[in-house]
Structure formats: structure tokens, C-alpha cells
Amino acid sequence: MSFIPGQPVTAVVQRIEILKLRDGDNLILGFSIGGGIDQDPSQNPFSEDKADKGIYVTRVSEGGPAEVAGLRVGDKIMQVNGWDMTMVTHDQARKRLTKKKEDVVRLLISRKSLEEVVRQSMMQR
């Protein structure tokens, strides 16, 4: 997931489908994002590579749709409904996630622990 020049990049991704919670006019996903190409990547506490300007999940509300769907704090969002999220501004990402027409968002996320799981399963062969 982290990008290190000269090193191959591997990303293990997971699909997460979040059914938005309707609260009056608002559709709620129940998490917050940080990051984006317009943000200071060094402030991102979740990125392994501090130059990574990707979108990260910064908070997940307890019991909310995102948590139910399995999203976790620190997940890096790679895609939203097929749209790339690795090179977007913070606001673009936010808008992609909050389309009023869409009741469901399908995320592609990468997560460090996923890599570990894969690594371990490979190692334990």
C-alpha cells in the first residue's frame, strides 16, 4: 500500500458495501475521511508513507452503517463505486461518497491488516 520509489507496490484490497442510513433528508454513511491531494499528507496519521495523499478513514461512528459494513479507522479508500480515490481532492472524495441518489456505496479499501492476513496465510502454507 505504501509507495516507495523503486519498490514494487502491492495492495491488498477489500470490497466493502455500505448501505446508507437515511435520516430525514440526509444519507449517513457513518464515517469520516481525511486526506486528499489538496491536503498535507504528513498529517495523516494512518498512512504508512507520509507522502501518501490518499483518502483515509479517520473515524467510524459506533454502530453506524460503515461500522456494520466492516469499515475501520485507518482504511485507505481506493475506489468509491468504481471511481478512483487515490488522486482526488478531499472535497471530491466527500462528494463521491455523499451522492443523494445513491443508497449504497461500494468501496474498495486497503488495510494494513489485510496485508498481514494474506501474508500470514501465505506463510503458513
Binding site: 519498490q7 514494487p8 464515517f31 504528513s42 498529517q43 496519521p45 479507522v73 478531499h90 491488516s113 501465505m122
Partner: protein, 974 residues
């Protein structure tokens, strides 16, 4: 049957006919017996056991038989009653056609159920018929009184009377055991009937019981015992199935004490098996009693592993915990009765064994013993019938010295029963000097006697009252047990011996005594043979697997306890010939068979862990391997190479490892380790050297991967922890081997375990492993999230609520990992640990947690290159300083803090280990596990701590300089 309310007349008719046929057969059989008996009487040959048989007089016997026969033939009395009373029950009658001792016969049993359908079942049963003579004898006493009794309501009284008289006549309270031949029949019937329909069979029982019970043999002991349990039945009196039981029982009681027992175990075999089941419903007092007995029964247990566990080992363990049951025993009979009865039936089902009892001589004894199990405290019996009473404790103890062996063994069995879970009685036995007598019986040539004595000692030795253990030791009980272990081949006796030793081993002062007297014997007699290990493996035969026998479990539990008794004990165990080899073989076999969750494996791993403790200091010749530079990874490699030839074992694995290290920037640090060479061996390693050979790493990792047993997991992690703790060459190998065997991910995975102690052991193992620089890097990048996720955080409760010690252990491990590695500190920040650390530092109720968190924070802050990122996250130096309130703590904290944390961790880890002793948890826990953990960890502490302290000082200074800049990162909810 006629009374029975049945829909179809045809079926009734059918069943009536059936019964008639049966009765006919029975009558024939009875008459045959009568003939036999009279023949025997004439001959005047009575088995030695039945001393009194002659006295009773042959004349009466025929009458008795007649009467009995009458009863059978005219079912009206009891049978009809029973049936009427129990409309719901299915009445089952079993007819035993032949009495062939030991020959399997098929019995036809007819079951009439309420709906009127009749079904036939054929059961193959091996009958055990005992000598007819016995019956006669007993009958005589019963005859006069007992005969009138037949009616369900009054039988008790009459029987009792007869018994009493009988006794009176004899003048002795305890009549020497006469064989209970009668039992056989009734047993057979029982089993049959039970198989088909557990509920019924009044008639048979009654009849048989009547015949069978000439309980004189058992003497007063058995009587007393029997009484209590059964009484409950009487009161219930209804038609429940139990009643049917009750009747037979009563007779038994009255006639013999023995009989009641018989139904339970009917044949010894049956009893044994059946008992376990009963035991399972723990709540009932009666059952408890039996449990104590349970341990005595050997064979049955073996056959049915589940039961055995429950009864003997487990039960003792459980029972102890629930001392309350004893109370219920006495009082509770009435309630429990139903449950008991039901339970009892099951045993029968199981119990179709050809008869150990069949042997006439043993029969009485065996039945007694079993019965003994059932017996409950005498109090009840006294209530019931004031005329006779159970022997009191001094009398029982006096009986241990009775010239007649069966009396001795019965007395011992009764003592075992009385002592079950009853600390008061144990104490009384001790004060009445019963223990030396029991110990002296261990050398008795007769198996029954030393077996029962051993059973009693096992119950006495169990519990928190160490005085009992000391008493056994002071009369040289330990050497006596060991002697018997060498002498006997009887598995049951061996189980009892090793169980007793296990109990004794839980008391610290006795550990060394056990080692001195029994270590080599236990190893040679039990551990080696059962482990499957062979000194000189025969190349033709493939290696044997370990057998997880009870004896092995008990013995390994005992050794597990004694292995915790400090350096000398460890030395003795390590140097005990064949012990380590056998334990390793057993574990390897467990891994091979994927059978890693049992108690024996747990015990073995715990012994290995304990023996691995401080190997680097205690093993002969360890100095040669001391490697002062070991802690600095780069330096050590050279030294190692000098010492060892290049074996290049791991060369081929580099490639695999590479991906693991992908992305590591500082892989170059540890190049030396990659080429770490293991010493080449010219001859196979053996003995204690096996403890720390890198090969064991794979074993422990397999256990960590496969076992579901938390204690085993903890012990395996603890073993790795111990092995990786030292500063000698071997621990370098071990640390590298864990990495090369891909052990780190396995350990990291276990950080997610639900078991507190597993998490703790793993965390500490990781800490030791991270002495290796490359391990530290890997652990820092791959384990950090899991470590952090185990930390409590302010708002959200973590999934698992870990104990303070575990939290402290994790914090210390984190501290170790980020020490000297800003990279790891960065991943700590990445893992969002700062939040949690600050929360712990500020709000934790635990001073130790606070200190440990504070050390981590100080270390983090000491990396100036990280401060920028930290401040951007909104942190400032105050977050990383010891809390104001904590100032007092903080100042002290550095060294003491660490020490404290480590120690507590160890103690807790002990709990896991403590499991070892089923019976005595207390002692085991403390000594064995603790010591090992502690010691091992200590070395680590010192090193880490010192570094830390130095560093932490630095950061504090620099904190002042830091300036707070807080641009808030954008963060939007969606």
C-alpha cells in the same frame, strides 16, 4: 401386567403369556440353583471369603429360596404394585434363561409399553454368575424376615430387621465378606432390561435382589453406606421407575449392603462405567460420593475416556471447587433421587461387560468397593434405622488393621469415600493416625488392599490442606507410592498412585522429595513408555506414538508441578535420563497426530517451558556459549560463527523470507543474521540439550498454530519466550530460527487471541524476540497494530478487556520495539497508538499501566524526526510527559516501574500453568510457571529498561524546546 391399563386386549394377553413363560423359566432356574446350593452345602465347601456362610445354616436356605421363588412366581405383590403406581412407565421384564458364568447369552426382553404394543428385544449379555452357595447363605438370614416383606410398602422394615438379627447372631458387626454370587443374576437382568427400557423391571429386580442380596459380606460398612442413598427412594415411594430400583435396593441394603451397589455397578464393570455418568450431574450429593469412588474404578474409566475424566480427574478438580455438594449429599437425597436414577440407567446400558465379578472370590470385594463409592455418610442410615449404624471413623481406621484383608480393603474404600471432598474427615483421619496405616497398606501384597489404600490416600491428598500432604510424606508415603509404582502393573493402581503424587506435588515443600524419590521411576515407568520414545529406536519399526493415558497425564502433571521448584529441580529434571527426550517425542507425536488440545500435551509443554527457563544460565557448560554482545545484533554474528561450523541450514529459506521483509528499509542491519549458521552436530543431540536446539522452535510453532488449548498456547509461547531470553549463542539461534520458521506472524496472530494470558505470553515473547534486530524491525512493522489494538482506549472499550498485567506487558513490548527504532515509533504513531497511550497515561486507574504508557510516550517523543508529525496531529509535549499527578510515580517509575510490570506479568502467567494440577491448583500455579517466566523476562527488562531510561531522559529535556503548531487536518463526516 394385568393391572396395566392397555388399549389392546391382544397385546395384554401376549404380554401376560410372555410373562408366564418367563416365570416358568425363572422358576426352573431357581430350582436349579436351589439344588446347586443344597449340593454345595452338603459338601460343606464354602469359599474362604464367606466365613459366616456356615453359620447361617443350610436349613434355612431352602426356605428362603422357596419363598423367593414364590415371590417371583406371583408377581402380584411387588410387581403389580409397581405397575399400578407407575402407569407411565414401560414395564420391562427380562428373563435370563441360563446362568452361565462368563458366557454371553442372549436375553429376550419384552417390553410392554403403555400403548399396549409389545416389542421384543434381544440383547447379548454376558452373565456373571457367582457361586450359588453364597446366595444360600445370605438368604438364610433374610429368609424369615425378608420373605414376608415382599410387599412394596413394608419391605424395608422387614429386611432391616432380618439384617440386624443376623448381625446380632454373628455377634460381629462386620461380617467378613462373603461372596455375593447372587448379584450376578440380578445384574444381568438389569443390564438387559436397561438396554431395552431403562424404566422398568420391577419384578426382576425385586426377585433377584432378594436372592442376590445376602449382603453379610460387606459387613457394617456397606450397609451403612447403602442405606443412605437408597432411602431417598423409599420416601419417594411412588411408582416412578426409581421405585422399582428402590425395591431391589432395599433388599440389598437389608440383606446386604452390597447389593445396592450391585445395581449400580451390577457387575463391577457395569458399575464403573455407569458411575461416571451419574457423576456427571454434579449437583447431587450422592453423585459426589460416587465420584470419589469413581477414581477407584479403573477399568471402566479406561474404557470410556469421557467418564474417566469426569470422574476421577475432573471430578476431583471440580468437586473441590464445589465443596458445597457434600452438604446436599446427606440431605439432598430425596431431590436428587430422580436424577440419579435416571443416570443410573445409563450406566447399565453401557455396562454390558462380561464380568469381572464373575470370579466368586473377587466378587464380594469388588462389589464392596464399588458399593463403597456409593455409600454416603452414615448419618442417614442411623436416622433410618436406629438399630444399626455405620462405623465411626475410629472404627473404620481400626478396621484398616483388621487381620482379614477384605475388611482392610473395604475400610480403605470406605475411607476414600468419606474423604471425598470432605476436608473435615480428611483432617480427622489424619488426627486419628489413619494416614500411616494407609501408607503401610501400600505395601500389602493383595491388590485390592493396596489399591483401596491408594485410593483413600489420593482423596486425602487432594485439597488445600497441606497438612494432609505433609502427613503422607512424613510417614514415608512418597517412597511407598513410588515402590508400588515400580511393583504394580495394574493400570488402575498406577493411576491412583500417580494421581496421589500429582496431588502431593502441588505443595512446594514436597516437590523436592518427590524428585528425590520418584523422578527417575516416574520417567522410566510412565513417561518414557507412554511417550513412545525409545532409547535406541528400532529401525524396522516406525516410531511409536504417545499414548495419552491417565497415568501419563497424572505423571506429567506431577512433573509439571515439581518442575517449578526452582533451579535445582530444573537441573534434576533436565538431567533425568530420557525425560526431555521422551517429552519431546510425545509432543512431536501430538503434533503429528494433530492431537494437541489434551491435558497431557499441556502438561508436557509446561514442563518444557519450565525446563527452558534460564537454560542459558543453568545448563552445564552454558558459560561457553555466553555471548555478551548478543544484544547488539551485528556484533554477535561473528562470535557465533567462530564457534560453529557453517551448516547453512537456512540458506535455502532466504528467498521466502524476502517478501516478508518487503519494504524494509533497514534490512541491511541484520545481514549477519541471515547467514546465521547453526552448529553442526556430529552426533544426535539428546537430553537437556534438546531443550534449546533450534529444532524445538518448529515444535512450539506447530503447537501455537494448531492448539486450541489456551494453557498449551501460553506455555508454548512461554517456552519461546524463555529460550529467546538469554544472552547466549543459543538464544541468538532461537530468535533467528523463529523468524526463519515464520514464527513471527504466528505469534502476531495470537495477539488476537481471546485469552488474556496467551496475549500476555505472546507479547512478552515478542519482546524477547525483538532483541534480534531484524525481528525488531519485522515486529515493529507487522505486529504494531495488533499490539495497539489490545490496548484499552478511553471511549471505546476494546473487544477484549485485558488484565492490567497484560496491558503492561504489551506496553513494555511496544517500548522495546520502538526503542532504537524511529521507524517502529513511526508505525506506532501510524497505528493510532498515541491516542490510547495518552488516554492510558492520563486516565488509567493502574499505576503500572500509567508508568508503562508514559515510558512509551517519552520514547516516542525522543525521536525528534517524529515531532513534526506529532504536533501536526495535535499533540504537544505535554502529552508525552509523565502526568503531573504522576510526578511522584514518574520519578520513581523508571526502573521500579519496569520491574513491577514484569513481575506481575509473570505471576499472572502462572495461572495458566497452574492448571496443571487438577486437584490442587494453588500450589502448582505459583511455583512452576512463575519462576520461569519471571526469570526469563528479567534479563530483558534490565537491558531494555536501561536503554529506555537513558533515552527517556533525553526526550524530557527536548520536550521543552518543542513548539506547538496545530494546523487541523481536514476531516469530514460522510
Amino acid at each position: 401386567m394385568e393391572d396395566y391399563d392397555v388399549p389392546s386386549a391382544a397385546s395384554i394377553l401376549a404380554s401376560v403369556k410372555e410373562q408366564e413363560a418367563r416365570f416358568e423359566r425363572l422358576t426352573r432356574a431357581l430350582e436349579e440353583e436351589r439344588r446347586n446350593v443344597s449340593l454345595q452345602l452338603e459338601r460343606g465347601s464354602l469359599p474362604s471369603d464367606r466365613l459366616l456362610g456356615g453359620n447361617t445354616g443350610g436349613t434355612n436356605q431352602p426356605l428362603a429360596w422357596q419363598q423367593m421363588v414364590m415371590q417371583e412366581q406371583s408377581p402380584s405383590n411387588q410387581t403389580s404394585l409397581a405397575m399400578m403406581q407407575e402407569p407411565q412407565e414401560v414395564v420391562e421384564e427380562t428373563v435370563t434363561i441360563e446362568e452361565d458364568p462368563g458366557t454371553p447369552t442372549s436375553h429376550v426382553s419384552v417390553v410392554t409399553s403403555e400403548d399396549g404394543t409389545t416389542r421384543r428385544t434381544e440383547t447379548k449379555v454376558t452373565k456373571m454368575v457367582k457361586t450359588v452357595t453364597t446366595r444360600t447363605v445370605r438368604q438364610v438370614p433374610l429368609g424369615p424376615d425378608g420373605l414376608p416383606v415382599p410387599e412394596g410398602s413394608s419391605p424395608l422394615g422387614s429386611y432391616t430387621d432380618s439384617i440386624d438379627r443376623r448381625y446380632m447372631k454373628n455377634g460381629e458387626r462386620f461380617i467378613t465378606p462373603q461372596a455375593t454370587s447372587t448379584l450376578t443374576r440380578s445384574y444381568n437382568n438389569y443390564s438387559d432390561s436397561y438396554n431395552d427400557t431403562p424404566d422398568t423391571q420391577f419384578r426382576h429386580y425385586t426377585l433377584h435382589d432378594g436372592y442376590g442380596d445376602m449382603p453379610d459380606n460387606y459387613g457394617s460398612l456397606s450397609r451403612g453406606v447403602n442405606y443412605r442413598p437408597y432411602r431417598p427412594y423409599m420416601p419417594t415411594g411412588g411408582y416412578r421407575p426409581e421405585n422399582s430400583y428402590t425395591l431391589p435396593i432395599r433388599k440389598d441394603d437389608y440383606g446386604h449392603v452390597a447389593q445396592p451397589q450391585v445395581p449400580m455397578g451390577s457387575s463391577t464393570v457395569d458399575l464403573n462405567r455407569s458411575q461416571p455418568e451419574r457423576f456427571q450431574p454434579e449437583p447431587y450429593g450422592l453423585e459426589d460420593d460416587r465420584r470419589s469412588l469413581g477414581p477407584e474404578d479403573e477399568e471402566p474409566y479406561d474404557l470410556e475416556p469421557d467418564y474417566s475424566t469426569a470422574n476421577r480427574r475432573t471430578l476431583p478438580g471440580r468437586t473441590i471447587r464445589e465443596p458445597l455438594r457434600n452438604g446436599p449429599r446427606v440431605r439432598g437425597y430425596e431431590d436428587p433421587i430422580e436424577a440419579e436414577l435416571i443416570d443410573e440407567r445409563h450406566p447399565y446400558i453401557h455396562g454390558m461387560y462380561p464380568a469381572p465379578l464373575a470370579q466368586p472370590e473377587r466378587g464380594s470385594m469388588a462389589s464392596l468397593d464399588r458399593m463403597g463409592g456409593r455409600r454416603s455418610p452414615s448419618i442417614d442410615s442411623i436416622r433410618k434405622d436406629p438399630r444399626w449404624r455405620d462405623p465411626d471413623l475410629p472404627e473404620v481406621i481400626a478396621m484398616l488393621g483388621h487381620p482379614i484383608d477384605p475388611v482392610k480393603s473395604n475400610a480403605a474404600a470406605y475411607l476414600q469415600h468419606l474423604c471425598y471432598e470432605n476436608d473435615k474427615i480428611k483432617k480427622d483421619v489424619r488426627q486419628l493416625k489413619g494416614i500411616p496405616v494407609l501408607v503401610s497398606l501400600l505395601d500389602h501384597p493383595k491388590a485390592e488392599v493396596h489399591r483401596k489404600a491408594c485410593g483413600a490416600l489420593r482423596n486425602i491428598s487432594y485439597g488445600k490442606d497441606h497438612d494432609n500432604k505433609v502427613a503422607i510424606k512424613s510417614c514415608d508415603g512418597i517412597p511407598a507410592l513410588i515402590r508400588l509404582l515400580r511393583k504394580t502393573n495394574d493400570m488402575e493402581v498406577r493411576e491412583l498412585i500417580t494421581g496421589t503424587l500429582w496431588n502431593l506435588s502441588s505443595y512446594e515443600p514436597l516437590k523436592m522429595v518427590i524428585i528425590n524419590h520418584g523422578l527417575q521411576t516416574m520417567t522410566n515407568e510412565v513417561i518414557i513408555p507412554h511417550s513412545g520414545w525409545e532409547h535406541e529406536p528400532n529401525e524396522d519399526s516406525k516410531p511409536r506414538d504417545a499414548e495419552w493415558t491417565t497415568v501419563f497425564k497424572n505423571t506429567s502433571g506431577c512433573l509439571r508441578n515439581v518442575s517449578s521448584d526452582g533451579a535445582e529441580a530444573r537441573r534434576r529434571l533436565r538431567e533425568c535420563e530420557g525425560l526431555v527426550d521422551a517429552l519431546l517425542h510425545a509432543l512431536q507425536s501430538a503434533v503429528g497426530k494433530k492431537d494437541m488440545d489434551n491435558k497431557s500435551v499441556e502438561n508436557c509443554v509446561c514442563i518444557m517451558r519450565n525446563l527452558s527457563y534460564h537454560v542459558h544460565k543453568e545448563v552445564p557448560g552454558a558459560e561457553k556459549f555466553q555471548d555478551p554482545s548478543a544484544l547488539q545484533a551485528p556484533g554477535s554474528a561473528g562470535t557465533q560463527r567462530k564457534k560453529k561450523d557453517d551448516a547453512g541450514c537456512f540458506g535455502g529459506k532466504k528467498a521466502k523470507e524476502e517478501w516478508f521483509n518487503q519494504g524494509r528499509k533497514n534490512g541491511e542491519h541484520d545481514k549477519n543474521y541471515d547467514t546465521l549458521d547453526l552448529p553442526k552436530r556430529t552426533e544426535p543431540t539428546k537430553g537437556f540439550e534438546l531443550l534449546y536446539q533450534p529444532e524445538v522452535v518448529r515444535l512450539y510453532l506447530s503447537l501455537l498454530t494448531e492448539s486450541q488449548n489456551y494453557n498449551t498456547l501460553e506455555a508454548a509461547a512461554g517456552a519461546l519466550q524463555n529460550l529467546s531470553a538469554g544472552q547466549w549463542t543459543w538464544s541468538n539461534y532461537i530468535r533467528a530460527t523463529v523468524r526463519k520458521e515464520k514464527g513471527l506472524p504466528i505469534l502476531v496472530e495470537l495477539l488476537r487471541s481471546d485469552s488474556d494470558k496467551v496475549v500476555r505470553a505472546v507479547a512478552i515473547a515478542l519482546r524477547n524476540l525483538s532483541i534480534d534486530r531484524r525481528n525488531k524491525d519485522l515486529i515493529g512493522s507487522y505486529a504494531m497494530r495488533d499490539l495497539v489494538s489490545n490496548l484499552p482506549s478511553g471511549q471505546q472499550r476494546p473487544a477484549k478487556n485485558l488484565e492490567e498485567d497484560t496491558v503492561v506487558a504489551i506496553l513494555n513490548t511496544i517500548h522495546e520495539i520502538i526503542t532504537d527504532s524511529s521507524e517502529n515509533a513511526r508505525s506506532l504513531i501510524t497505528a493510532q497508538a498515541i491516542d490510547k497511550l495518552v488516554a492510558i497515561n492520563r486516565t488509567s486507574q493502574s499505576a503500572r499501566e500509567t508508568k508503562a504508557a508514559s515510558h512509551v510516550l517519552q520514547t516516542v517523543w525522543s525521536y525528534k524526526e517524529l515531532r513534526n508529525a506529532l504536533t501536526k496531529d495535535g499533540w504537544n509535549k505535554t502529552h508525552f510527559q509523565p502526568i503531573a499527578a504522576g510526578t511522584p510515580k514518574g520519578s520513581k517509575s523508571c526502573k521500579p516501574g519496569y520491574d513491577d510490570t514484569t513481575l506481575p506479568l509473570m505471576e499472572k502467567s502462572q495461572d495458566g500453568y497452574s492448571t496443571i494440577d487438577q486437584r490442587d491448583k494453588d500450589s502448582k500455579y505459583k511455583s512452576s510457571d512463575i519462576s520461569s517466566d519471571l526469570q526469563e523476562r528479567e534479563p530483558l527488562k534490565n537491558d531494555t529498561n536501561r536503554k529506555h531510561y537513558i533515552r527517556s531522559n533525553r526526550p524530557t529535556v527536548s520536550l521543552v524546546d518543542a513548539c506547538d503548531v496545530k494546523p487541523q487536518p481536514v476531516d469530514s463526516w460522510v
